[in-house]
Amino acid sequence: MPIPKIQTIESKTVVIPIENIDTDQIIPARFLKTTSMEGLGEGLFCDWRYNADGSPKPDFVLNQPQAKGAEILVAGDNFGCGSSREHAPWALKQYGFKAVISSSFADIFRGNSLKNGLLPVIVPADIHAELLRWPGIQIKIDLASQTVTLPGGRTIEFPIDPFAKHCLLEGVDELGYIQQQEAAIAAYEAKRV
C-alpha cells in the first residue's frame, strides 16, 4: 500500500493542552478487537469525548463547533506514549487529523505516524507554548521546507528524519523499498549463524 503523499497542510488548530497523552487515551484497548483498520475514528479519545451513556461531553474540545474541520492537533509534551498500537495514528487519521504538533513524541508513536501519513511536528518549547495558548489559529505546515508558518508570517523549522520525509513527499512504500534489497538480505542470511 503506497502511503498518501504529504506536501502542505493548511488548517486551523485544535488544542489539547495535556502532557503525556498516552495511546490508551487516543484509542482505548477495547477498540483493538478489530481485524481491520477501519472504524477507529469514532473511538478517538473516546473516554474524554463521550459520557457513559454515549452522549458527547460538551466541555471536550473535539465536541465544540470550533474544532470542526481542523486537520492539525496541538498537544502537550511526549504525545503518544505507552502502547505500540498503530491503531492510535489510524484513529487520528480517520478522524481527520493530518498532523500533530508537540514539543516531543514517544518513539513508537512517531514511527507509526510517519508510516501512515500523519505528520508528527516537533517545535521548540516557546513556540509550543504559544500554539497551546492560541487554539484555532490558522497555520501552514510545509513538509518540503520543513516549516510551520504562523498567522503573522513567521516561520519555524521542524526536524524530520530525511528518509521519512522522502517517503512522505514521494509516497514511497517502505515495504517495497525493503524488498528491493533482497540481494543484501539473502547474503546476510547465507552468513548468519
Partner: protein, 471 residues
C-alpha cells in the same frame, strides 16, 4: 563488524551484528532473529501480505501466541461471550495456519503472554534482535537481547522480509549499586527509576541496566525491570548476559544443545559492554536507599514510596507539571498531602507481562498463606503462561490463593488492559502488579496503583494500600 577497536556497549554490538545493508539517506536495514506475534497487532499485517501475494519469509523465526483478548476464565466456556475477541483469536488461528507459523493457542499447554512464553521456552537468547507488535517487548532485553516493540506496519515488514529499517538508539546507563533491603523488589527498582527520570526520560534511548544490584537479580527479576523500559520512554532496555543468564537458559526447549550450546556460549560471552564504552546518558541509584514503591497518579512516573505522602500541586514549580498533577489527582480522587498507605482499595491484580512469573506468584503466595483476602477486596491471580500455571499448581500455590479467597485464573494479559472481560468498574481502586496506570487502562473509570506482588498481596489482606513489611 565495524568494531575498529572502539569500545562498544552490548546494544551497539548486537546492532553491528545485525546490519544487513546501509544506504545513504536511509536508516540501516536490520535483520530480526525472532518475531513474536499475538492476536491484536497482527491481523492487518497479514492482510497486507495477502493483498500483495507475499509469503512469510521466515516462519521458522516467527512464533505466535494468544494473550491480549484472551479470556482467563475457564477454557471450557464458549468464547461466544465476546464475538469480536473470538473473531480476532480465530483470525490468528487462520493466519498462522495459512502462513505456516507455530501458534500456542488456547488448547496448548504452552500458551501464555508473549513476553513470558518466549523466555521460558528458551526462544529468547542473548545477542538476538527480537521484535513484537507490543511495547513491552523490551522484557526480552533481560537476556542481553535487543528487543523492542513495533507497530503493525513494521510487523508486516518483518513478516515479509525478516528486516526492519531502523536508526540506532542512544545508550543510556541505569546503574543500580548496592543491595536491596528485605521486602524491596525488582518492581520497586523500576518504579523508582521511572519516578526519577519521568515517562519521557528515555525517549530515543536504549537502557542498559548495570551495577551490583542488577547483577544480583534473577532472570525473572531482570525481566520485570526490562519490561517497564517503555514506561521510562525507552523502546528497549537490556542487561548484559552473565552466568545467571546462561544457567537460566540451559536445557530449555529451544535453547541450543550440545556443541551448539558451547558455540553459542562463546558468542554470548562477547556481548557484555566493553570497558570504556561511552553512554549518552547515565542515572545512578543506590539500592540500599530504595523503598517499596507505588504509583498514585495516571502515569507510571507518578510513583512514591508506599510509606510516602501524595504530592501537593502547590509544591510543583512548573505550571504544566502542576496542572498535570491536579488532573491526575482529580481522576484518581485523591487528596494531596495524605499518606498512600491506608487508602482503601477494591481489587488486587497479580499478573501481566511485568509480574506473572513463578517467582511473582511465590512472593504473593508467601503473603497469602494462612491469610484471607479482605472481604471488601476481589483478588485475581493470573499466571503469565500455562507453564507458569502448571508449576504453581505443582507447588500448591493455587490452593493457597483459593483458600485465601483469591481467584486463580488461566494464562493471559487479563486485567492489565481490559480487553478480555477482566476489568475494573468505574471508580474502583486496584493495586496491580501490571505496568500502566493510565486513565481507564484497567477499565473505563478504573483507578490503578502500580506496585510489586508483595505490596499487592499485602494490600489484598488488609483492604487498604499496605507495605508488606508491616504485616
Amino acid at each position: 563488524m565495524s568494531t575498529n577497536g572502539r569500545p562498544r556497549t552490548t546494544a551497539e554490538k548486537i546492532w553491528d551484528n545485525h546490519v544487513v545493508a546501509e544506504r545513504p539517506g536511509a536508516p540501516s536495514l536490520i535483520y530480526i532473529d525472532l518475531h513474536l506475534c499475538h492476536e491484536v497487532t497482527t491481523p492487518q499485517a497479514f492482510s497486507t501480505l495477502r493483498a500483495r501475494g507475499l509469503k512469510v519469509r521466515r516462519p521458522d523465526l516467527t512464533v505466535a501466541t494468544m494473550d491480549h483478548s484472551t479470556p482467563t476464565t475457564s477454557r471450557e466456556l464458549p468464547l461466544l461471550m465476546d464475538p469480536a475477541g473470538s473473531a480476532q483469536l480465530q483470525q490468528l488461528e487462520d493466519n498462522c495456519k495459512e502462513f505456516g507459523i507455530r501458534l500456542y493457542n488456547l488448547k496448548s499447554d504452552k500458551q501464555g503472554i508473549v513476553h513470558v512464553v518466549g523466555p521460558e521456552l528458551g526462544m529468547t537468547q542473548p545477542g538476538m534482535t527480537i521484535v513484537c507488535g507490543d511495547s513491552h517487548t523490551a522484557t526480552h532485553g533481560a537476556f542481553g537481547a535487543l528487543a523492542f516493540g513495533i507497530g503493525t506496519s513494521q510487523v508486516g515488514h518483518v513478516l515479509a522480509t525478516q528486516c526492519l529499517l531502523q536508526v540506532p538508539s542512544k545508550p543510556y546507563e541505569i546503574r543500580v549499586d548496592g543491595a536491596l533491603r528485605n521486602g524491596v523488589t525488582a518492581k520497586d527498582i523500576i518504579l523508582a527509576v521511572i519516578a526519577k527520570i519521568g515517562i519521557g526520560g528515555g525517549t530515543e534511548c536504549v537502557f542498559e541496566y548495570t551495577g551490583s544490584a542488577i547483577r544480583a537479580l534473577s532472570m525473572e527479576e531482570r525481566m520485570t525491570i526490562c519490561n517497564m523500559s517503555i514506561e521510562g520512554g525507552a523502546r528497549a532496555g537490556l542487561v548484559a548476559p552473565d552466568d545467571t543468564t546462561y544457567q537460566y537458559m540451559a536445557g530449555r526447549e529451544f535453547a541450543p544443545k550440545g556443541a551448539g550450546w558451547d558455540a553459542a556460549l562463546a558468542r554470548w560471552k562477547q556481548l557484555p559492554t566493553d570497558e570504556g564504552a561511552v553512554y549518552a546518558k547515565q542515572l545512578i541509584l543506590n539500592a540500599d536507599q530504595l523503598e517499596p514503591m507505588i504509583t498514585f497518579g495516571t502515569n507510571p512516573g507518578m510513583g512514591i514510596p508506599v510509606s510516602g505522602k501524595i504530592p501537593t500541586p502547590e509544591s510543583m514549580v512548573d505550571l504544566q507539571a502542576r496542572a498535570d498533577l491536579e488532573k491526575a489527582l482529580k481522576y484518581m480522587d485523591l487528596q494531596p498531602g495524605r499518606p498512600m498507605a491506608g487508602h482503601p482499595i477494591n481489587v488486587v491484580f497479580v499478573g501481566s507481562c511485568t509480574n506473572s512469573r513463578i517467582s511473582d506468584l511465590r512472593a504473593a503466595a508467601a503473603i497469602m498463606k494462612g491469610r484471607k483476602v479482605s472481604p471488601t477486596v476481589r483478588m485475581l491471580v493470573v499466571p503469565g503462561s500455562m507453564q507458569v500455571r502448571q508449576q504453581a499448581v505443582a507447588e500448591g500455590l493455587d490452593k493457597i490463593f483459593r483458600d485465601s479467597g483469591a481467584e486463580f485464573r488461566e494464562a493471559g494479559c487479563s486485567m492489565c488492559l481490559a480487553m478480555n472481560g477482566d476489568q475494573l468498574e468505574p471508580g474502583e481502586y486496584s493495586v496491580s502488579t501490571s505496568n500502566r496506570n493510565f486513565e481507564g487502562r484497567q477499565g473505563k473509570g478504573g483507578r490503578t496503583f502500580l506496585a510489586s506482588p508483595l505490596t499487592a498481596a499485602a494490600s489484598a489482606v488488609t483492604g487498604v494500600v499496605t507495605d508488606a513489611r508491616s504485616l
